[in-house]
């Protein structure tokens, strides 16, 4: 009898569980009360968008209720056709390339947003005020298929600052072991240290020879080769060539490849020499960002390139490092190149053609361009503590106190990022810049920007024709492979690179070099024309 009772109750319990589970699952799937469903790429650590104060506020103000559904970035990258996802009206954080946007656009699967500008007052105002942004967003057929992210802080063009271990130099001074060609006093050891490349080299040599980190762990100079920040471009630039990680830049209105410059070869040859003597760590060429950051925490770096030292170093070592001005060449000149990282990013959000009320959804997204919303989307909501509750002089003031959490952690969990419009004008009138960003900007303004090559500019977001896009795709793939391969082998190789092998690299890739240059030049000329006409 007892067994029967136990059996029956177990069965009932099991049934109840099943029913509850089914009800729960069904409940999760229904969203009748929501007007729109938007798919977004979100990591689990980031808070639920649906309960974020900034989105609640938006819903209240616009009367439009959006239900956010999620893919993690791993799921999303496996999703070959996100636009085909059933039951969604838009995709946020699409990450679509120019070609992909155009491919979806010309198939009519995503909406040409320029046809709905009437319901987007903010966005249309931006397009009128900033012809360069309008031009950057256009696809080959002249339509705009995505909403942009615009975050203009003037930071991205200069992603490298050179730091050096002040404490180690002090130790050298104390031990009276400064290299013969270096005259430094302890008073001089502060941000903006002024060094010739030869002096810098002698210091690194001393760091290594005396193994100042101890236990053979000393890393005289390190960086993350080819990374978007903290790469070796400015080291190469010190030889007088406007290098960036793509090796291509605008010089006096002409698209130019730095690899074609003989000074680039000289820089590579010099780097090989430094590498072979152990002054540049070879791990600079096979480590990724996280490995670089992990290795640096214990203060074993003599010198490194990165945007800010705080992420690279554990707290107790942060004060040991100071900023070095761009290295002087023998004639006393300093040079810095500019990167091609864009502050206007395409492909942040697309609306699917299957959306039934495109005007409605676009009018909702249009609100994202307002300064208050942009700021909260980018840093976290006022209610969650990203900004102080009260504005000062009409400006949102960032809250730097996040208790136990680091500023990065707080922002990562609370800010959805994505479609924002934060420009010079917004920083001046509506939002105060984060103190970290301000510090970074000040450092760049003081120690890096003034030394930019004359006449050198980044390549802006260009607008290519379909054929140009396809040609670029083919040529750039092999070209960047070949350059990266030659360069890395030349630098880490045991023997000094020969001029013949460099010339051979150029001649083998001549067709691709010329094709990429001429396509970019044509697009750049069109860009200049369009921007000046409007």
């Amino acid at each position: 009898m007892k067994k029967i009772v136990i059996g029956v109750s177990a069965a009932v319990l099991w049934l109840v569980c099943v029913v509850l589970f089914v009800l729960f699952a069904m409940g999760g799937g229904t969203n009748a009360e929501h007007q729109f469903t938007v798919l977004t790429v979100k990591e689990d650590a980031v808070k639920d968008y649906n309960s974020m104060p900034v989105f609640r506020e938006l819903a209240q103000e616009t009367g439009i209720d959006v239900n956010w559904v999620y893919n993690t970035s791993a799921q999303y990258s496996n999703n070959t056709d996100p636009v085909g996802t059933k039951g969604i009206d838009a995709i946020y954080h699409t990450g679509f390339s120019n070609l992909k946007l155009y491919d979806y656009g010309r198939r009519g699967r995503i909406v040409a947003i320029d046809e709905y500008l009437d319901s987007m007052p903010n966005f249309s105002r931006i397009l009128t005020a900033r012809p360069d942004i309008a031009e950057a967003l256009k696809s080959p057929d002249g339509h705009i298929y995505s909403l942009p992210r615009v975050e203009e802080m003037g930071l991205k063009a200069y992603p490298n600052i050179l730091y050096i271990n002040k404490k180690w130099i002090e130790q050298l001074i104390d031990a009276n072991a400064l290299p013969a060609n270096v005259q430094l006093t302890k008073e001089q050891l502060k941000d903006g240290l002024d060094l010739y490349r030869s002096e810098y080299e002698a210091l690194l040599e001393q760091f290594k020879a005396r193994d100042l980190a101890g236990g053979g762990k000393t890393v005289p100079l390190t960086f993350v080769s080819g990374n978007w920040q903290g790469n070796e471009s400015d080291f190469i630039a010190s030889f007088g060539v406007p290098e960036n990680r793509e090796h291509k830049t605008v010089v006096n209105g002409k698209i130019t490849f730095t690899v074609e410059d003989e000074k680039w070869f000289d820089a590579v040859a010099e780097m090989q020499d430094w590498c072979s003597r152990g002054l540049i760590s070879t791990s600079s060429f096979d480590q990724d960002e996280s490995q670089f950051l992990a290795r640096g925490q214990d203060g074993r770096y003599g010198s490194f390139y990165w945007w800010e030292k705080d992420t690279v170093l554990a707290k107790e070592f942060r004060d040991d490092y100071i900023i070095v001005l761009p290295l002087k060449d023998d004639d006393g000149n300093r040079y810095v190149g500019v990167s091609n990282e864009q502050e206007v990013e395409k492909g942040e959000c697309v609306i699917l053609s299957s959306c039934e009320d495109k005007e409605g959804l676009l009018s909702y997204f249009d609100k994202f361009f307002e300064p208050d919303y942009s700021a909260q989307l980018n840093y976290g909501s006022v209610k969650s503590g990203a900004f102080l509750p009260n504005k000062v002089d009409g400006k949102l003031i960032p809250n730097d106190d996040h208790g136990e959490q680091s500023a990065d952690d707080f922002r990562m969990r609370n800010a959805p990022y994505g479609v924002v419009y934060l420009t010079e004008e917004v920083w001046q009138n509506s939002v105060q810049m984060e103190s970290r960003a301000q510090l970074r900007l000040n450092n760049l303004n003081d120690y890096v920007k003034p030394y930019t090559f004359e006449g050198v500019q980044s390549i802006p977001n260009l607008n290519y024709t379909q054929q140009e896009l396809l040609d670029l795709n083919t040529h750039e793939f092999s070209l960047s492979n070949n350059i990266a391969s030659w360069y890395t082998q030349a630098v880490v190789g045991d023997a000094a690179p020969t001029k013949a092998s460099w010339l051979n690299l150029l001649s083998v890739n001549r067709d691709s070099l010329e094709a990429v240059k001429s396509i970019n030049q044509a697009a750049y000329d069109r860009y200049l024309l369009a921007v000046s006409a409007e």
Partner: protein, 355 residues
């Protein structure tokens, strides 16, 4: 003996080998059925297409056995043949979501192939693929056979079992972990690098992950270290079917342990070896891209960029699905040609073949 060998061999080999046996046994079966039918004299039957008649009788009696093939047949049809229509993408301007056959399909002829072949580095990628795979095959194919023969000759069963587990355990390490281990040992700042620096080596250090020449050895030897024990299992299974009487007879004749490996064991597993070799040759141009991609650095691109990584980067990451499929199709065609050549050669030389 050969039948016993087959019975214990892996499933694939079993099926394939049986075909061979079938051909030999066909006449016998035919004769047997003729004898069973008993009625008409053999000569009369021959005039009425004897093979066809025998087949009919055979089918009438045992046709129902064919039902057992249906699941396998369906499996192959649904999972191997049906998806093949996807290769049409190689001739289209395609992106996911487009219909592959339909009114909206944009056919572009051989445009994707032209794009693929016009890549200035095409021959480099082709050669890299070929060399990586052929070296991998040359090292990786004999190794498990040798290991299986040696393990099989061990006297102590316990030692044999222990070694076998030790050898195939690495097979279960995931690729990512495996490459992580490689980087920790062979990478810049890795174990070997540190050791060489401590022992007063070159100041630049050992940088095997940045040296194109080191890529293939690292890839092949790590791959074989991981898999030789696992691959040996098939051969060990085949060896366990060798009739002990043969060994005893050889012993009586005074054959040494070494002699017996060559004269008893090796001939016994030869059909298995040949079959696996034909299959490997058929896969010669496809060594998976995952591990190559994980081990790739800017420094070793010269040897580590192979066709399948190109398909992955250019086709999938760049969204050039048509070109990616064209490259994949090209690779498969080469594989098929190699397979046919290997099968033909083996048929001529050893009388073992897949068809």
């Amino acid at each position: 003996m050969s039948n016993e060998t087959i019975a214990t061999a892996s499933e694939d080999v079993f099926d394939e080998s049986l075909d061979g046996v079938g051909e030999v046994g066909e006449d016998l079966v035919e004769q047997a059925y003729e004898a069973l039918d008993g009625g008409a004299p053999a000569e009369e039957k021959k005039e009425k297409h004897p093979k066809w008649e025998a087949w009919k009788t055979n089918f009438r009696r045992h046709g129902w056995i064919l039902v057992f093939i249906i699941p396998a047949f369906l499996y192959v049809l649904v999972f191997c043949y049906a998806p093949m229509y996807g290769i049409l993408v190689a001739f289209q301007d395609y992106m996911p979501g487009d219909s592959i056959i339909g009114g909206s399909t944009t056919w572009v002829g051989f445009q994707n192939f032209r794009t693929f072949f016009s890549n200035p580095n095409f021959w480099d990628y082709f050669l890299n693929t070929f060399l990586l795979c052929i070296f991998g095959f040359l090292v990786g194919f004999p190794l498990p056979i040798i290991v299986a023969l040696l393990l099989n000759s061990l006297r102590s069963k316990k030692v044999k079992k222990g070694l076998q587990i030790l050898y195939y355990a690495p097979h279960f390490i995931s690729l990512v972990v495996m490459v992580g281990m490689l980087k920790l040992i062979f990478g810049s700042d890795g174990l070997l690098d540190q050791l060489s620096k401590q022992m007063g080596g070159d100041a630049g250090g050992l940088k095997l992950f940045l040296t194109p020449e080191a890529f293939r050895p690292l890839f092949i030897f790590s791959g074989n270290w991981q898999d030789f024990g696992w691959s040996a299992i098939v051969y060990l299974a085949a060896l366990s079917g060798v009739d002990p009487a043969l060994h005893e007879a050889a012993k009586v004749d005074g054959a040494s342990r070494f002699r017996r490996i060559f004269s008893v064991d090796l001939p016994a597993i030869l059909p298995t070896i040949v079959m696996l070799m034909i299959l490997s040759v058929g896969n010669l141009m496809s060594c998976g891209y995952e591990k190559v991609l994980l081990m790739q650095t800017a420094g070793n691109l010269e040897t580590s960029e192979i066709l399948s990584t190109y398909v992955y980067k250019f086709g999938l990451m760049n969204g050039q699905y048509g070109v990616g499929t064209a490259a994949g199709l090209f690779n498969s065609v080469i594989n098929v040609v190699l397979l046919v050549i290997a099968n033909f050669t083996s048929k001529k030389l050893t009388n073992n073949s897949m068809w």
